[in-house]
């Protein structure tokens, strides 16, 4: 452990000065029999950002709770946790009395949780959360609140508006930033963040991360950032630690981890992440799942999933040792072999190889679904007084979208939450009544077409709530077969179900079909949902964030399955995502298109390759920025390329081009007139931006406040 603190490989060569020294720390359950954190020994340096990466259920949240001595009952925490104050005094965290611990938490170490919505008392205004925290720690409320306002402002929030709001009145991104401000209101030294951005859009995640970076520098914070998303944290971390099955398996400077990862698990994680810079075929998912605390494998815990495992790994548990000159420590017997045999391709060459299927260009053929000028408007709910007077506010969730989808096509709707992509998707498959425009299905109006209901299916985001918990898998999958093959016998249906289950990798199928949904893992549930939709023999399937609820290491697997089954079942997909790298993966494989949506409109559409290499709309460029990649030179230091972080209120969308309030290159013209979606002249797809027209008056008008004077 000491080797870790002796030298620092940090970019600025500062003297290592551990603020937290964690030694042999364990968290056990059921009378010390199962460990949910085992022998954790880590030093956290002052003013660094330490990224801790692990799959769900790997014990990483337990590590966060352990630092604050807040392990939930009946967990038992043991070991040594030493906190070094700036003035040289030290604190033994486990030796603190209850009252000392109460004061220590939040004043010295504060924590930010994943779901900001659940971290605020829903019946109290945000402001009360701040004042009560200050009062509990005997701080001056006046001074504290002005500091809080300063924090909120530096997080791109309007302090008065946020403070006087109830938690539910804020968007997810605003809540999360308010929570970060709340955690910093007592000016702590250490901030522990447990998946602080997992529930948010990519753009918001990236924006928050870059703000965090600023805050860290401004207020001399030490940040422990816990996540399952390796590329995300790689952008800001100084050092990274990988946790697998309740143990740290690798820890070291970020550059060493990214460029020269030693543990097979780390290498697999790097390989498993959809990355916009790596070639498609390089991305592979990791086989199997992490173990449960009750049955941890003997020897090296990763050996059942490890491609370079030997007999030694099965019996002897490796220790976390330094393998390189710097403080890069790894728990693996075969570091050299792992580095040699498990290659990670991060070079951008060949990123767009010829894996594409022939892009459909048969536009003259009758399209499967044809949307023209589609509108879906909702009446928004209002306050007590407003309800008695005046017209209701209207949210234009989808406002004038025209799109056509061919047979066996794939269109990916990409955008932030609240941009109307789910509403558009639902309208396309007839689950949402449009308020204007028309949808035709095979040349006929959608609501007049008899077969449309069965031919258009949906896969929801959360597979757990999409499956009836009281029915077995065989019953769930028999339902669609009864529709499509009403005359099939029970044995015939069972045969078809088992062969499909085998096809999607759920073997032995005979065992699986008798199970109930809660007996399946998240990935397996999502496969059942997918099978259920496909057994209807649909012409189109709406996959609404279908992989967001699945663990990162499984996402590629599910997308591959979607693609394979597309050919087999001859269906089209409407794939909804907020993640450009996932969208790119699936569209490029299927030879489809990505449609970028913003506030109810499609602002750009085109092939994945064109959108990545040559984005035309400024919003597409922003989304491109928000997508983390694993390049060593990337840093989240750069400011978000938007002038406003939050999406404007959809009730009163901006005039002209709707993106002009956030657009980095907006000009006066954009405020007044709205660009139309025009076909790109020298590329595929279409884009709605004045910058596409060389002699538009846009080029003569003045840039807006904060917008760039000389773009490009």
């Amino acid at each position: 452990m000491s080797s870790d603190t002796l030298t620092s490989q940090g970019s600025d060569e500062r003297q290592p000065d551990p603020i937290l020294e964690i030694t042999d720390t364990n968290v056990t359950y059921t009378d010390g029999e199962s460990y949910v954190l085992e022998d954790a020994s880590v030093s956290i340096h002052r003013d660094e950002i330490l990224g801790i990466v692990g799959e769900s259920g790997s014990g990483k949240s337990m590590f966060a709770s352990a630092i604050l001595d807040a392990v939930p009952d009946p967990g038992v925490l043991s070991g040594q946790l030493i906190y070094n104050r700036r003035d040289g005094t030290t604190v033994d965290i486990l030796g603190l009395s209850d009252e000392q611990l109460r004061a220590f938490r939040w004043e010295e170490i504060a924590m930010v949780f994943q779901g900001a919505m659940h971290s605020f008392n829903p019946t109290m205004k945000i402001k009360t959360h701040f004042t009560e925290t200050l009062q509990s720690h005997d701080r001056s409320v006046g001074e504290g609140m002005s500091f809080a306002r300063e924090l909120l402002e530096s997080l791109y929030l309007e302090p008065e508006r946020v403070l006087n709001a109830y938690p539910h009145e804020l968007s997810g991104g605003m809540q999360q930033r308010a929570l970060i401000a709340l955690s910093m209101v007592l000016n702590p030294e250490v901030l522990i963040m447990d998946e602080p951005t997992a529930a948010l859009d990519l753009l918001m995640q990236r924006s928050i991360l870059s703000l965090l970076n600023d805050l860290q520098e401004e207020y001399d914070l030490t940040i422990v950032f816990i996540t399952h998303d390796l590329p995300l944290v790689a952008g800001i971390a100084d050092r990274m630690a990988i946790i697998y099955a309740f143990e740290f398996v690798e820890i070291g400077p970020r550059d060493a981890i990214i460029a020269n990862a030693a543990h097979p698990y780390t290498r697999a994680l790097l390989q498993a992440t959809p990355n916009i810079n790596s070639p498609l075929e390089a991305m592979q998912s990791i086989e199997g799942q992490g173990p449960a605390p009750a049955n941890v494998p003997s020897g090296c815990r990763f050996h059942p999933r490890c491609p370079v495992a030997t007999d030694e790994c099965e019996s002897v548990e490796p220790t976390l040792d330094a393998h390189d000159a710097n403080n890069h420590r790894v728990a693996c017997h075969h570091v050299e072999r792992a580095r040699e045999e498990l290659t990670i391709s991060t070079d951008e060459e060949g990123a767009f190889s010829a894996t594409e299927r022939t892009t459909q260009t048969t536009t003259d053929a009758e399209s499967l679904l044809e949307l023209s000028d589609l509108q879906v408007h909702f009446e928004a709910s209002q306050g007590v007084i407003e309800q008695f007077i005046g017209e209701p506010d209207v949210v234009k969730a989808v406002d004038g979208v025209s799109l056509s989808i061919e047979a066996q096509d794939l269109v990916c709707l990409l955008g932030e939450s609240g941009c109307g992509k789910t509403t558009l998707g639902k309208a396309m498959i007839g689950l949402q009544e449009p308020t204007g425009g028309s949808i035709t299905f095979r040349g006929e109006s959608l609501d007049e077409h008899d077969d449309a209901r069965a031919a258009l299916q949906i896969i929801h985001q959360d597979p757990s709530s999409a499956l009836n918990p009281n029915r077995r898998i065989v019953d769930i999958l028999s339902e669609p077969l009864l529709h499509t093959h009403p005359n099939a016998s029970i044995t015939e249906r069972r045969r078809r179900i088992t062969s499909l289950l085998e096809r999607i990798g759920m073997t032995p199928a005979d065992a699986y079909i008798e199970r109930y949904p809660h007996q399946l893992s998240g990935g397996e549930k999502q496969r059942v949902v997918l099978s259920r939709a496909l057994l209807m023999d649909p012409d189109a399937v709406l996959a609404d964030e279908a992989i967001s609820a699945v663990d990162v290491s499984l996402r590629i697997e599910i997308m591959d399955l979607l693609l394979e089954l597309q050919e087999e079942f001859e269906t089209s997909y409407l794939f909804i995502s907020h993640d450009l790298s996932n969208a790119r993966y699936i569209t490029e494989h299927a030879g489809g298109r990505i449609a970028v949506m913003y506030l109810g409109e499609i602002v750009e559409i085109g092939s994945a390759q064109r959108l990545l290499t040559d984005p035309r709309h400024p919003y597409t460029e922003v989304l491109r920025w928000a997508t983390p990649d694993l390049g060593l030179d990337t840093d989240a230091d750069d400011e978000p390329p938007v002038r406003e972080i939050d999406v404007p209120d959809p009730i009163d969308p901006p005039t002209g081009c709707r993106f002009h309030t956030r657009c980095p290159v907006a000009r006066e013209t954009c405020v007044e007139t709205s660009p139309e979606l025009r076909d790109c002249e020298d590329g595929d797809g279409a884009v709605a931006c004045f910058r596409e027209e060389p002699d538009h008056q846009y080029w003569e008008s003045d840039p807006l406040d904060g917008a760039s004077e000389h773009p490009e």
Partner: protein
Amino acid sequence: MNYYLRRTIRIPATILGVATLTFGLIRLLPGGPFTQLRIQLRRRGMDAQEINARIEALQNIRPEKSLPEQYLDYLIGVVQLDLGQSISLNKPVIEVIGQALPWTVFIVVVSTLLMFVLGVLLGSLQAYWEGTTFDSVGSGLSILFMSIPYYIYAVAFLVVLAFSWGVFPTSAAADRSIEAGFTVAYAVSVLHHAALPIISFTIGGVGSTALSMRGNSIQVLGREFVEVARLRGLSDQRIATRYVAMNAILPMYTGLLLLVGFRLGGTVVLEEIFTYPGLGFYLIEGVNANDYPLMMGCFMVITIALVLAVYFADMTYGLIDPRISVGDADEY
């Protein structure tokens, strides 16, 4: 249409429905008081016109008019708070109700509040000490108390405390020898008379409130914001009140107001047992004496009270729980 407007219009509509039902029921009941009365009066040799006048006065209906006209007259009467004349007590129904209603409201409101406060206290203590002996004994007693109907307590208290031991009076709302007014003696007497009805009407409710409070609190205690509040170093007392209790009680609020309404109608047996001159007591009187105007008047008042309670709950829930935007809010 606007939710508040819709909700407000629904009140007169409900009351109109109830009034129509009472009007129709009177006419449908065979051998109702008027048939009986008509026979009696005719035997005394009264002429038909006089009989009609009497019945009209009794029920504010003119029998010789057509049905729609009668219906209209009746409704106008209801709007003018003229619910007819009680046959057995020979007083206007509205006057009888005016005297009885305050007593019933007193009993119901006091016992419901008591039930709520005690139940919430007991339930939250049980939740804090979940799994302890206190919790299991508390839950057991709660289930026992709530499964015994209130009139059993009433009879038992009456027999033991009032008749055998003579600690409490056996009937009436106050001592008749003390003049009604805002005097200490009168207030003591009122409380003394109301004690047994209130206690018997409260015990069972405490059990059920405690059980639901316990469940809600345990759920809230497991929520993340309670954990965050603890990490923020808030005092246990503040967490218990503003975080746990507040969020646990909110879902019970609508139930509380509904309960007040329902319990107004539930006092019938209670007041009969204690001979307590409330609404329920007169309702039974009316039933026993075939006094239909009185019965109908009591029904009307109970219904209106219930409708108003529900209305009040619906209207105020949005103010109390900031998350509820009243009406049919939807996400997009």
